[in-house]
Symmetry: D2
Subunit: 335 residues, 4 copies
Amino acid sequence: MPSSTSVSVFGASGYAGALAAALLQRHPRFELRTITSRSDVGRRLDELYPRHRVPLEMVELDLDRHGDVDAAIVAYPHHAAAPVVAGLRERGVRVIDLSADFRLTDLPTYEQWYGPHAAPQLFGSAAYGLPELGYRERIAEADVVANPGCFPTAALLGLAPLARAGLVDDVVIDAKTGVSGAGRAATEKTHFVTVDENVAAYGLAGHRHAPEIDQELAVLGAEVTVTFVPHLLPLDQGELISAYVRPSRDVTEQELLDLYAEHYAGERFVELTGASPGVRDVRETNIARIKVTRDARSGRVLVFAAIDNLWKGTSSQAVQNLNLMFGYDEAEGLS
Amino acid sequence: MPSSTSVSVFGASGYAGALAAALLQRHPRFELRTITSRSDVGRRLDELYPRHRVPLEMVELDLDRHGDVDAAIVAYPHHAAAPVVAGLRERGVRVIDLSADFRLTDLPTYEQWYGPHAAPQLFGSAAYGLPELGYRERIAEADVVANPGCFPTAALLGLAPLARAGLVDDVVIDAKTGVSGAGRAATEKTHFVTVDENVAAYGLAGHRHAPEIDQELAVLGAEVTVTFVPHLLPLDQGELISAYVRPSRDVTEQELLDLYAEHYAGERFVELTGASPGVRDVRETNIARIKVTRDARSGRVLVFAAIDNLWKGTSSQAVQNLNLMFGYDEAEGLS
Amino acid sequence: MPSSTSVSVFGASGYAGALAAALLQRHPRFELRTITSRSDVGRRLDELYPRHRVPLEMVELDLDRHGDVDAAIVAYPHHAAAPVVAGLRERGVRVIDLSADFRLTDLPTYEQWYGPHAAPQLFGSAAYGLPELGYRERIAEADVVANPGCFPTAALLGLAPLARAGLVDDVVIDAKTGVSGAGRAATEKTHFVTVDENVAAYGLAGHRHAPEIDQELAVLGAEVTVTFVPHLLPLDQGELISAYVRPSRDVTEQELLDLYAEHYAGERFVELTGASPGVRDVRETNIARIKVTRDARSGRVLVFAAIDNLWKGTSSQAVQNLNLMFGYDEAEGLS
Amino acid sequence: MPSSTSVSVFGASGYAGALAAALLQRHPRFELRTITSRSDVGRRLDELYPRHRVPLEMVELDLDRHGDVDAAIVAYPHHAAAPVVAGLRERGVRVIDLSADFRLTDLPTYEQWYGPHAAPQLFGSAAYGLPELGYRERIAEADVVANPGCFPTAALLGLAPLARAGLVDDVVIDAKTGVSGAGRAATEKTHFVTVDENVAAYGLAGHRHAPEIDQELAVLGAEVTVTFVPHLLPLDQGELISAYVRPSRDVTEQELLDLYAEHYAGERFVELTGASPGVRDVRETNIARIKVTRDARSGRVLVFAAIDNLWKGTSSQAVQNLNLMFGYDEAEGLS
């Protein structure tokens, strides 16, 4: 085990890349080497994000110069990410990709939601970076880890015990997210006056995270087509999924509690809670806080899972995956 | 038709009563006579709520002195409301009751959720005060109008066309509400620091608005047990319900649009919208803004209905009902 | 007095123009004729701003076609406004200009802060549209009314009694504003994530509203150079100025209260309050809420004035001015 | 130097005590022994504050049982704190007192603002716990450290270089604070609906932090009576002071920058910034972020200082002081 692993963040000016850089800079095992940006070359990261206190200048990506690292986090949008990942792989760099380019395993599904893939030769080769879903060994050995979407992270952590137990007959996922999930781009949608004192659903024509959730639920044993609707809330970081599950057979409250307790025994980043989990409880942590209960009137199983969309939903999960890839303690630099 | 109708508000120091008083004070047809309070006797309402600009002093309720009005809005909590309503009825006053005491029509159901009823002789005699549900004539003739709960108002307006058309097989209602819905009481739950940057479900042991929704859906023709979960959001006024309906047969998007357009033709306080409705769009209005659509992946029907919980969800709806009771234009004083 | 006055709003897609259009559309005396936009031609205003419920389409400005109205509100940025105002004047239209182009009376000062003036022939000819400052007669007769800046409105209303009484020796104005004051443009500055849970000063190199405040304080009798610093707060509408006045002689609390009561006697849009005024108290009103007090420790006079920056700070003040210009009751359509 | 120092937090159920407990629990040098509460005996701290993740039960204070520690943080309100501090001192425990009981050095001033002192024998014996003000040595040797008020912390850090240089002739401090500064008590003032979309000044009859600021400015060499007005903002944590200084002689921008750079050279918890400091930049850090500039129009010196009121304003500053008292690195456990 090397005492220090060099890592670069490509695309550090967005919320996810910037946080990844900040987490790595103060990580005891990783040495943050280079941070790049497409929009803010020449600016220091602590000028854009004073709170992250990363006193590094962002440079333009040059794979020939920047490929000499042990690992990289690629924080580019989908389509833009795939070629960078491919270029890094050619240079032997192990990669965490924060985009959606390598999450799906069925190419037609990818193409339906995202269009043509920009590095099809690598498609299907990545490990799905949700350790708690049973992927730890694959992640540890992977050259490319596809970091999950924020909604799938919360949804899958919330539903995994039910799915594994064969209890999911049908599921509605009502998701609530803060504005940072929409990214740093200044648009009418992210304008303070649009969001403040407001709440509305979005993505009603279909959200790209739905097939990702379906895919992984199927791996867990639940072949369903989820109904998934995200809502934008007036808060910056945080994501809550409320899942309404029609169970395949009637279950008692105690069965549910036991099932979840057993499933998540030993997981350091999952908290089972009797109280209703709030996103405030997990703000700026790598923790998913989950409650399961039975609706006495309808018999439905209700699951609530709260995460910080930028942390466990994105960047701290990436660091957790990096830890696994390089043999460090999974929680190093995250607690 | 009298040119002016005298009306008092009993319980004016809470959010709902105060807003009712404000709406009535500037209403061209009603003369606001007396406002009472249990907690703030002797204080002026514009001291508690400067923005409402009602320069009246709140007095202690004395039915013998205050019963000499044409109408009253009772803004007391359940249990406390029923005896006041009864006392007013004995004096011939027509009443809008904002509490839950007269909304349900099945006494055992009431008792299960609220305990013993405090004026059982009147139970079942009220009109349900949601005009758009087909209750206009009953309201116009009623001596007591039970003003609906805020969640039922949004949920029923959103689901009525489907229910009437026999299309509701099963329904999940995920509700989001601002903090004013929790009332004026200062508690840990309503503390700014608790709510800010947070979202969480509540009422998971069962919420009293669920049987009210069931009851009225049944009247509309849908015998279902809804799964209903409210969530508290960091905003003051506004309520969005997201309803996930398993239709009894497959329906097309166009069928849904036609169904809703026809059902709500001529309704001045219902807006059908192609865009996803936000609570900001209806803030401080008597309007419900509704979108219906079909989830292409799952075939579910999705309905979103946004209201202002204090306006259409409570106090402006009460004024709409008062208008109907006294033969005024339904929209008088509300637009 | 005509029973109806035709009015158009040029530049209706910004916050100020849109609100002006909404206020005029429901005004009993004005007929809203045309609304224009530079960025959103062909879109309906109620699509951009559902809550305003103005079902009109925005068109491109064509003075030859749109100059046939009694009055116009020009809601363009400075520089862009002046030529439109000039064109309207050539066609005999009476104009309220919401920009800064005609507020200042000293051309060099204008040029220092805003650059060359685009219609110098009209410079200095406008009435300053703050009725409560003693400008009612000038406004009533004016062809062009320069609607005041939002900060000057609050600051001048707060300081006028002291200035008139010769009591202002020196003044610091610490202003706090909501995000709508920064306009509809989506920028990093107006991004929800930038503003949320934040407060910071801005405009430290000098803010254009400072010379406007100086100018009008001088008219009132106080020749001072104010120290003026605005701060951006996480709220949408609302503006509070906290003014710290070193009085020219010691004054008692009672003197101050009497001075303000006398000065503002009969003003319908000024509320003097014992409690500390909050912007919530004046949200969506044309009211300025003011408290004056003496700091017992330092002898300074403290003045707090709260307005809604989009209402009394901009658009409802424009309507108040229009009422004056056309001989209607000053409060018509505003309460 | 011992490898571990035992410490207890008395009054852990309030915001300040709870955060102090959380910081100490994860501190590498301190061992958190006991946490007490007056209102929540028997509850676990992670039940009240899930996000702090301190899995300890709060017990009732019993000095005989709980006095056997190296150090204690007393997080009681003024008056209640003094006797506990005295009791701890009798048992040889070194104390950080978060209350105002030992901050002032003039007893009549204390009595004027707080009433009779509850442990007068200790009055005047404490070190003022603002290390950056030149108090490091006194703190290191102190038995009792009076942790500064949150407003004085920001104000004094912002003004110290000017005061030391003899440049402060007169000063106005306009302070803006989030709601956590008002504490955990649920009142009308801290109700979400009161604070949301609002800003107002408070404490206009005189705020207790003003004499504390005066006292320390005098120590630094500036004998002034500050004008100090706090404002409540719709955010949870964060405090910004905007100070308007009339300098005793004219100074240039460059002089100011040099003065501050020199004064704060080597300070790890002070950041001088060219950009306007926002409270978001320092959220959940022990850092004060400061900008000084000269207002070109008025010649005033403007100083802006942002802190997190619960961190540098209270609890992390307490930990910084504890580090100094026990010979650890000042930043240990804080970065």
